[in-house]
Structures are given as structure tokens and as C-alpha cells.
Symmetry: C2
């Protein structure tokens, strides 16, 4: 049996800092990333790729907003689904081209993925995740009237939405079966579409977004992965990040990282959810978590880069 | 072994004539359609659902256009992929809820689907398929400068794109495997994203759209379906449609329908591709094609509505 890994690509993986986000840029970046993933597959691993969608869903929300007078804007969950189509298609095409060039005969496909959350999640009472464009003081009145919660930031007002904790991947079993069929799967893009289970109704979508690393961890559990490789925009995990005492972590044990997490080394908006995902994964049977820069995927996988967290 | 069917939903299935296209309308329509599909599945059929995307991709193109000064517009293929995410998510959720209510334990998932076309397809030299918004005489100058082909219609100018003939479904084998694993699949939405095979490169997307019924037929071949059920906005196929001599067809043989097709009974923009799909399907081993109204899916399936075409 092949070993299974989740490769979680950061939102910055496909649109790099300073880029405009044209489709040419996004495809070029996707081709770059595909090379590391091909090497892992050649090395004998079954891989599920997950990805962020920050810049892409931001653009889709902006487009919906600017066209709202002529075509009904879609809710957030639908915009996330659109971004799964957009990004899934790019990765599916670039990765299967790269596999083909490397003479690896493995099919690749992207799935639309729903993620179960708890209706009682505290984030629904206290939405904090900013999404979409900045609004002026005047514009924000209208937005508020439509029932959105907003918060003021240095650049203006933004809609804030809940970011509930993912419980399980609705399509988790399907993805497991597909891996057994030798298929490379792209799933739970943008953290997946959050749904709750409604008595007598079934699944129902919500205006919320889920952290993509926490979702990736739930998916890693569902497929019994042994490796969770999180590729982001820093080469390593740091203690005292951004201070003169900053210290990179090369190799760290679960017990230690739990203490660092408790001590508040990892800010909520960035490294925090990645470390929480790492802790959950190792505590639920996973063997290793690697966190590294998106450009160093293969080096990190081979132990030459990144922070390696084990039990 | 269960029998396999493709259910091809028309673009009008999810946004009905006169509707604005809000997400509530679309979900309500999707729930309606799901009921017929659940009955087919309960009846022992493996089902792959395909769907149009006309109104949805039209909205996405319009949104891209209106936001073009603030965020880079995505090409057509990407917009189709986004619509596959949007519609796939809706069908996936509504159908799995409906199955659950009917005590049928079958998982449902939507796939991002690429469709291989021929670079030498004549439509690339003569694009005729109108897409996206209408432009004024003044606006169309800019559009033309960007390299788009345009055509004048009664309502104004529109971009026209090639509509090449689909050759095969890139993810056809994957979909077959998923059916073997008891999974209900939603695939090749909006006719799928057209790709060509480029020597030394692999698959590459194109600015074109593919007729969703012709794509559905290729998928039906790939999975060895025996039934192709095309649900659209007319109850039957008609000879001399729209004339005083209009005559509905209830049951018709392949040989007859080929003659009617040759005789020009089925206009290119509407019934033509459906009939061509039917002919191809029956000539490649399919047993039956049913064409009927989207609200009569189950009746049509049971032989009480629609036009039934057999060898």
C-alpha cells in the first residue's frame, strides 16, 4: 500500500505577492508547484492536494459586488464553490500535464467539497474573518442594511464572516475510494463550503469560510494520511516571529509545539491554525507535519527545508 | 450490474424563463429536479448528471466584464470552470439531501471536467456561438481591440466564440471508476472546458464553449451508458416546429430521425445538437435516448412523456 499525504497549498501559492492575479500568472505558478508534487508521486505517494483561495474568492466577491445592479450577487458559499472550480481546473490541468511529462500515468481530478460545521460554533456569534473588498463609510451603510456584519480596518470597512471549526469532510469517503483507485485528488479548496446538518432537511450552506489548514487536517484524518505538508509563504515556523529573538524551528516534537502554541507564539490570522492543524493531525494518528515555503516543497519533503513536527 | 444513464439538464433547468437567477430560485429549481433523479436511482440506475450553464456563465462573464478595471477578467474556460463549481455544488447538495430523505445511501459529488477537442475543428475559423453581455457600438471597439470576435444582433453586439465538436472526456475513465464505486457523479457541466492536446506540452485550454448535449453523449459513450435522458424546455421533439404543420414525435427509430435530421427539421441553435447527440449515441451502442421537458423527467423515464428514440 502506498503512503498517503495531503499537500496543502497556501492562498499565496497561485497568486504571489505583488502579482495582479492574471490567469497567466496563476497558471505559471501552478506549473511551478506541480513539479514538487510530481516528485512526491514518483516517490510512491498517494497525494491529495488542498488549496487556499483568498485572492481568487476576493476577486469573485468584488466582481459580484460591482455587478450587483445587473445580476444577482451570489452568496459567499457559492463564490467559494466557484473558486474551487477555477483553481481545481488549473491544478488538474497543470499537474496532469506535469505527470504526463514525467511518464507517470496517474489521473488527476478536482472535486467540489462540502465541510460539516457545528451550528453552535461560537464564531457564528462573533464573526471576525474579513472577506471581499473595502468599503467607504457611505457604501458600508447599504451593506449593513443587507444584513452583513462589518468591521473597520485601516483601509476602510470590510464584511466580516464567521470562520467555524471544520468537523468533517462530507465527501471524505469518496476521496478515500478515489485514492484506492489510483486517482490523484484535488479537494476542499478554500477550506470547502461550510454546511450544517439540519434536522429533516439535510445539508444546508452558510455564509462563512473555513480555515483551509484546519479543513486539510480533517481530510488527512478521513483518508488516513501519514503526512501533512503545508506549503505557505515562510520557510519555517518561528518562535517570537518578527522580534529580535526570532528563532526558526527545524525539528520539533508534538509536546513541545503544544507548549509553544499555548504560550502564544503563533498568531491567529497566520501560523496559529497551521499549528493547531499539526497538533490535531499528530494526536489523531498522523505521523508527520511539515510546514515550509511553497517554493521549497520538494526540499521540505526530503528533509532539507521547513519545520518538521513529529510525535 | 446496474444500468447506467446520463441525465443531461438544460441550461434553463436551474434558472427558469422570467427568473432573475437568484440563488434561492436556483436552489429551489435544483431541488425540484432532484426528485426525478432520486426515483431513477431508486429504480436501480447508476446516474451521471450533466448540465448546461448558459445563464450562470453569462452572469459570471458579465461580472468579469464590469469589474475589469479593478481585477483581471478571467478567460472563458475559467469562467466555465467557475460555473461547474457553482452548479455542481448546488446539485451535489440538493441531490444528496433528496437521496437521504428517500433513505438511499449513495454519495454524490461534482467533478471538474475537461473535454478534448480538435485544434483543426472548423469552428475555430468561424466562431458563431454568442456569449456574455450585449455591447454598444462604442463599447465593442475596445472588445475588438482585445482580440475578440464580435457579431451584431438585434439587441447589440456580442462576443462570438468557437463551439468545437467534443472528441472525448478527459476524466471519462475516472467517472467510470467512480460509478463502479457506487458514487453518483455530476460532470462536464456547461459542456466542460475545451482543451487541445499540444505536442510536448499536454492539455491546453481554449477560448471556446462546447455544446453540452454533444459532450453528454461523449460521456455516455465513455461510461457505457444505455440511456441518455435529455431534459430541456420542450416536452417533445417536433417536426416542422413552430409551423401550422408542427407534429410531435412520441417514438421514433434511429433511421427515421436521421432522415428528419438530414431534412433540416432541427435548428442548429436548439434541437439540432440534441438530435445529433441522439444519433451518435445510438450508433455507438447506446440503447435509448429520451428528450423531454425538465419538469417531466420521471414521466419521460417511465415512458409517459417525451420523445423516445431507439435503434
Amino acid at each position: 500500500m502506498r503512503k498517503k499525504a495531503i499537500v496543502a497549498l497556501g492562498g499565496n501559492a497561485l497568486i504571489k505577492e505583488g502579482q495582479e492575479g492574471t490567469i497567466h500568472e496563476q497558471f505559471a505558478n501552478t506549473r511551478d508547484i506541480s513539479r514538487s508534487i510530481v516528485k512526491m508521486i514518483k516517490d510512491g505517494w498517494d497525494v491529495v492536494i488542498t488549496h487556499g483561495n483568498g485572492p481568487q474568492v476576493g476577486a469573485i466577491l468584488l466582481q459580484n459586488d460591482l455587478a450587483r445592479d445587473v445580476t444577482p450577487p451570489m452568496p459567499l458559499g457559492i463564490c467559494v464553490a466557484e473558486s474551487e472550480g477555477l483553481i481545481g481546473y488549473m491544478i488538474q490541468q497543470c499537474l496532469s500535464n506535469a505527470l504526463h511529462k514525467a511518464n507517470v500515468d496517474r489521473p488527476v481530478v478536482a472535486l467540489i467539497t462540502q465541510v460539516l460545521v457545528d451550528e453552535a460554533d461560537p464564531s457564528f456569534k462573533n464573526p471576525t474573518k474579513p472577506i471581499g473588498p473595502f468599503y467607504s463609510e457611505k457604501e458600508v451603510m447599504e451593506i449593513k442594511e443587507e444584513g452583513f456584519q462589518v468591521k473597520e480596518y485601516p483601509g476602510g470597512w470590510r464584511v466580516v464572516v464567521p470562520s467555524p471549526d471544520p468537523k468533517s469532510i462530507v465527501e471524505g469517503e469518496i476521496i478515500s475510494k478515489m485514492l484506492d483507485d489510483d486517482i490523484i485528488v484535488i479537494a476542499s479548496g478554500g477550506g470547502g463550503m461550510p454546511v450544517i446538518e439540519k434536522e429533516g432537511w439535510g445539508l444546508d450552506g452558510l455564509e462563512a469560510v473555513i480555515d483551509k489548514d484546519l479543513t486539510s487536517e480533517r481530510l488527512a484524518e478521513a483518508i488516513n494520511a501519514e503526512l501533512l505538508l503545508i506549503l505557505t509563504n515562510v520557510e519555517k515556523v518561528y518562535l517570537n516571529y518578527g522580534t529580535p529573538n526570532q528563532k526558526a524551528l527545524d525539528s520539533v516534537k508534538l509536546k513541545e509545539i503544544k507548549q509553544f502554541y499555548k504560550d502564544g507564539h503563533f498568531p491567529e490570522g497566520s501560523m496559529g491554525p497551521k499549528i493547531l492543524a499539526a497538533i490535531r493531525f499528530l494526536e489523531s494518528g498522523g505521523k508527520k507535519v511539515i510546514i515550509s515555503d511553497v517554493n521549497k516543497g520538494w526540499d521540505a519533503f526530503k528533509g532539507k527545508a521547513g519545520t518538521h513536527i513529529t510525535k
